[in-house]
């Protein structure tokens, strides 16, 4: 049984009443949000199916198939059952105080998964070397296999690139465990301090990599949020508290 006292449930999704901390590595700030509700609580499974938004240009031109030794072009998750404005990218939204948290499972699990936030940018780099699409088969870093955590605050698009290093033309199958959160920005400096110092349980989810997010300010506006810098654990509380107050615009 799901224990609501835990920060996350068995699917890695944040339970109601707990903080979700969005972490933006490009500027090393966080946005702490209270998860006020989960619209689909108990119904987290989303069997998306084959990645049919992609069809190879050459034979076998089977939708959802990734040829051996190739990368696919960057994908979002289209879903034709939605109304036209939503269907091209089913998780992208512009709703205020809303975050969609999707833990993605890509089969076959041997495929490399490169996530792109903002969409269209290769944000993972190693000392200046970018894990770009054309290096998808051979690059030594910047990918995962099997699973990836995708967190969609408002106005933020994710792209996904998959690479097939095997010698087999492989069909894909994608499923999600997702949660549609209603959120509230945590604006109390003492609570933020407790979260950042680990005294209050929270779940931290990275959004993007080393590339600045487009729409970052619009996202903050829709979340009614202000970014707070990550603070050293060892720092004295009164010093940290002042930094948090400064970030929030208080004194």
């Amino acid at each position: 049984m799901n224990d609501l006292m835990n920060v996350v449930d068995e699917n890695g999704l944040v339970n109601i009443g707990h903080p979700l901390v969005l972490w933006f590595p490009f500027n090393n700030t966080v946005v702490p949000l209270l998860v006020k509700n989960r619209r689909n609580f108990g119904y987290e499974k989303f069997d998306y199916g084959k990645l049919t938004g992609y069809t190879p240009a050459s034979a076998p031109a089977t939708a959802g198939c990734i040829h051996q030794q190739t990368n696919i072009t960057e994908q979002v998750f289209a879903y034709s059952r939605l109304e036209p404005s939503l269907s091209p990218d089913m998780f992208y939204h512009s709703d205020d105080d809303t975050v969609i948290h999707a833990n993605m499972h890509v089969r076959p699990e041997v495929l490399r998964i490169f996530t792109r936030v903002p969409k269209g940018t290769a944000q993972q780099d190693f000392r200046g070397q970018i894990a770009s699409d054309d290096l998808g088969l051979e690059i030594e870093f910047g990918y995962k296999r099997g699973f990836a955590e995708l967190v969609y605050p408002p106005k933020i698009k994710w792209g996904v690139v998959l690479s097939n290093e095997t010698n087999i033309d492989l069909m894909t199958y994608v499923s999600f465990n997702y949660a549609h959160y209603g959120t509230e920005f945590i604006s109390c400096p003492d609570v933020i301090l407790g979260i950042l110092k680990g005294r209050i349980q929270s779940h931290m989810a990275p959004v993007g990599g080393n590339v600045e997010l487009t729409n970052f300010n619009e996202m903050l506006k829709l979340l009614h949020a202000k970014p707070v810098p990550l603070l050293p654990f060892y720092e004295r509380d009164d010093v940290s508290l002042q930094k948090i107050r400064n970030a929030l615009g208080g004194s």
Binding site: E109, G146, F147, A148, L170, I195
Partner: protein, 142 residues
């Protein structure tokens, strides 16, 4: 703060192959629901760099005639004529089955490691079969 930690990648599949009835030796075409074989048939499995392969279950079936099944590996599947080296051979069936559960191939050092199944028959038939459950996986210490 809690962060998501996903399990190591593990892809478990069962593949099926059979002799073709026209050749006394050969590598069977392997089938599985994830394999798209309308253009390219699958006669070997290339292991991505850093991953290992293990055989979780294995069944060699002889049809009308005795069939010597074996498992081969090559270090370079990209070579024009890969050099295949036997790992397991059912010439001694008892030995094969006692070692089967321990068979781990890899990790693939450069992404060119591959395995295949291979048959040898004195008289060809088309109903000798191999059924194998295979796992391609990231080891827990990697």
């Amino acid at each position: 703060m809690h962060v998501t930690k996903f399990p190591k990648a593990s892809w478990i599949i069962t593949v099926h192959g059979a002799t073709d009835g026209s050749n006394k030796t050969g590598a069977p075409t392997l089938v599985n629901d994830f394999f798209v074989t309308s253009t390219n048939t699958v006669t070997s499995i290339r292991i991505p760099k850093g991953l290992k392969l293990r055989i979780l279950d294995l069944e060699f079936l002889c049809g009308g005639y005795m069939t010597d099944w074996r498992i081969d590996y090559t270090l370079d599947i990209t070579a024009g004529s890969p050099t295949w080296v036997p790992i397991l051979d059912n010439a001694n069936v008892q030995r094969l089955y006692s070692k089967m559960q321990k068979l781990v191939v890899g990790p693939s050092l450069d992404g060119k490691l591959a395995i295949r199944f291979f048959w040898t028959q004195v008289t060809q038939d088309d109903d000798s079969k191999v059924n194998a459950t295979i796992e391609l996986y990231e080891d827990k210490d990697e």
